[in-house]
Symmetry: D2
């Protein structure tokens, strides 16, 4: 059981849509579309991915971090550090 388990099918749907967006990018390159229009679609796909990531983090905090707090001990610090590192990677990507 993970934070995202309850909304698994929602994530799968969103990721399928992003996969389609990336396939669309490939088609745009192949069809010699204008670079700026391709860039607009790259930004849209990136935003969609980031938004999936923020949702995953939200459910992760609500479940896994909360669980760690309930358990107590070292696990809170470990889970929180792990989540902060994931946030840092997202912010920088």
């Amino acid at each position: 059981m993970h934070g995202y388990t309850a909304s698994k099918s929602d994530y799968v749907k969103r990721l399928a849509r992003i996969e389609g967006q990336v396939r669309g990018l490939s088609r745009m390159v192949d069809d010699d579309k204008y670079c700026i229009d391709i860039l607009t679609q790259v930004s849209a796909a990136t935003k969609a991915l980031q938004s999936v990531a923020v949702k995953l983090l939200e459910e992760h905090m609500a479940h896994c971090v909360a669980e760690a707090v309930a358990e107590g001990g070292d696990s809170v610090e470990i889970k929180v550090k792990e989540a902060a590192d994931a946030i840092a990677r997202l912010v920088r990507s």
Copy 2:
């Protein structure tokens, strides 16, 4: 002819790889992988997309912006504004 035309097959290959990364994300969710590991892969896919975007922009500047400069007139300002707007969208995504 666009800035990216000469390296079209390279872009198609890179985008196919990113499409595979996004499909992999879907599989990770489906296989109940740990959220933090999914987030690491989201960051990797986002970075790969951004890197395609920066390459597209580089070739766009080298060709389309350069062409506009050669043509002269208003087209330089228009092309440059258009590129700056695309950069702003990327930075914010």
Copy 3:
């Protein structure tokens, strides 16, 4: 008491350094430095700000979110949503 209270003087020091970086940017513009060199310093200041933000979020999760979990009730969901919104703003800025 906030998550960051224990390391308050560390934050004040980091922010003073960033303030100095921004003042340095102004001086670079005033001294007609090369645009690309100014941009490198803008990226450095942005990275330093983002890194302060990630640290604040880490301590916020470890204290405020943990406190909400201990209290129970609706407050966990509220705190987690609030943190996720802050992460979304950071990722997009």
Copy 4:
């Protein structure tokens, strides 16, 4: 003469405002403000910095890159690569 020379005083004003925002952040920490409110202000300062960067890039493309195109030779490729690297640093910060 740089791309930004004509709007130098505008940049100095914007950077002074950002410097004030960062000083405000320090005051918020000192006054024990709520972490999420501090994070909102960090995002605002980051956005303001990024927006200065995009403007600098726009004027850099319109002047320095255009100049390189006019000069011809290797300088176009060098200037464009340099600008693309600056964009990559911005996107990742």
